[in-house]
Amino acid sequence: MINVHMARAFYGIVMREFLRFFQQRARFFSALVRPLIWLLVFSAGWRQTQGLAPYPPYETYIPYEVYMIPGLCAMIQLFNGMQSSLSMIYDREMGSMRVLLTTPLPRWFILLSRLMASVAVSILQVYAFLGIAFLFTYFEVLDLDIDPIGYLTVLPALIVSGFMLGALGMALSSTVKQLENFAGVMNFVIFPMFFISSALFPLWRIKDLSYAFYQFCQYNPFTYAVELIRFALHGQYYGLGALVVCSTALIAFTVAVYSYDPARGMQAQPKGAKRAG
């Protein structure tokens, strides 16, 4: 009986996330326009300067835009993860989270459902982007050359990477007291995470340019999310990437559940105020 309740509640939370997403059309279009600008503008400019030697998972020389696709997929999920966290803070301040938290459901389940709903939305955005990329290839605007099977094999990678990025955003949002503060936090998270990673340049090239920068990239879990997606798009499995992404996701989610305080933003909470666990 309780499982039926949980299944319905999970469906409700996912349904609400999708309804809100489609209501906020600007969010959908900006989620698509951002990676498309990167793909069309930046890749066109940089392909002339970037010679990409064969390096796993690629077996031949590839155009730069092919290299960019996994990084842009991860970028969509990164932005969505942060957007979803922002919406959680908004919900907390506006009181919508209280409606969720006063239902007879465990708190971990509520947060997990919110996270999975956000992952589902991010996957929808990634597939919309990949669909447009497919059309670019079909109409010979760009030569992206994604194996059709890659559209399927990338799904598990997108689920775990979306989960990791959403959980990181959730953990961050748990520590932020006010909505206004989160915009600043986002800037300090999104841009370093994206730029100090293998999203735009392969690690071997970064290593050639700066060893210190390469080390930073190696300690960035976003790098592993990008590489996991890259390998999966080519029908290959990247074990280390999966391990890092799954571990980071679990740690971040545990931190989020442990530190989530529904009373934040509700009223001034002096230090030492107790909260429900």
């Binding site: 039926v4 469906y11 809100r20 006063t102 239902t103 107790k274």
Partner: protein
């Protein structure tokens, strides 16, 4: 989804609850009971501890000292399951403005584990009672404050709760809307199927037959039927009784 409850068990029983914000005590040994068929007004000035008590009852804060039993179930032993018989209307609007009335209620019904047919029937019933059914497909953003409040009450009643908890639900509403909402909730309590705990600082919302609890400085200073309280205090109005009680408490403490 109707909460049948146990016979003779209060819809809510609060036993010796204290709560601290750091070193400041917000609630001091609070005990009270609310029974089915009863409209209980929790009256107190700003800062009296009403919202803290409300947050404890809804489990937004943890009850470290004392115990809260909802329909006989404690958070300590039943966890979030104890929230099942509770319908809640928060002081602040908690509806999703970007969704329609229907979508908001449907979302809530799923959170409560309600099936599709039951949801449809209950949405129709609760909204019709509150004269809001014709607006079911409108975006909440397009509704005025009074109508949003009605939708929130409909939402809180959707799963047929045993206890309806309202935290200053009429704040910011015009007199006519306030009257409609106050009367509707009184009617619900009088139907004998539900217990109502209504926190307020507006005394004209309380009727003579209501159960009145006065909270001051985190402590309950009066608990009884309104007429009995008036007789005990020797006041003609609730306002006069409230002032006398608060003044008496201050004198006692000084």
């Amino acid at each position: 989804m109707k909460q049948d409850g146990q016979p003779n068990v209060p819809a809510i029983s609060i036993e010796n609850v204290s709560y601290y914000y750091g070193s400041r005590q917000a609630l001091n040994d609070v005990s009270l009971q609310v029974k089915t068929g009863q409209f209980t007004a929790l009256l107190g000035a700003n800062g009296a501890g009403k919202s803290t008590l409300f947050s404890l009852i809804t489990r937004l804060f943890d009850t470290a000292i004392g115990e809260i039993l909802i329909d006989g179930k404690s958070f300590k032993t039943s966890g979030s399951d104890a929230l099942a018989p509770l319908g809640v209307v928060f002081q602040q609007t908690t509806l999703d403005l970007d969704l329609t009335v229907w979508q908001n209620l449907k979302y809530f019904s799923l959170l409560r584990g309600m099936g599709s047919k039951l949801t449809t029937r209950r949405i129709e019933e609760t909204l019709t009672e509150l004269e809001m059914f014709e607006r079911v497909h409108e975006l909440v953003r397009d509704l005025n404050g009074g109508h949003r409040r009605r939708v929130e009450i409909a939402r809180a009643l959707l799963h047929e709760p045993k206890l309806l908890l309202l935290d200053e639900p009429t704040v910011g509403l015009d007199i006519q809307t306030r009257r409609v909402i106050v009367n509707h909730v009184h009617d619900l309590a009088n139907s004998g199927k539900i217990a109502v705990l209504w926190t307020t600082h507006l005394m004209d919302e309380i009727k003579d037959q209501d159960h009145l609890i006065v909270l001051d400085g985190g402590k309950i200073i009066e608990d009884g039927q309104v007429n009995d309280v008036l007789m005990r205090v020797g006041a003609e109005t609730i306002e006069a009784a409230f002032e006398s009680l608060v003044k008496g408490e201050k004198e006692r403490l000084s």
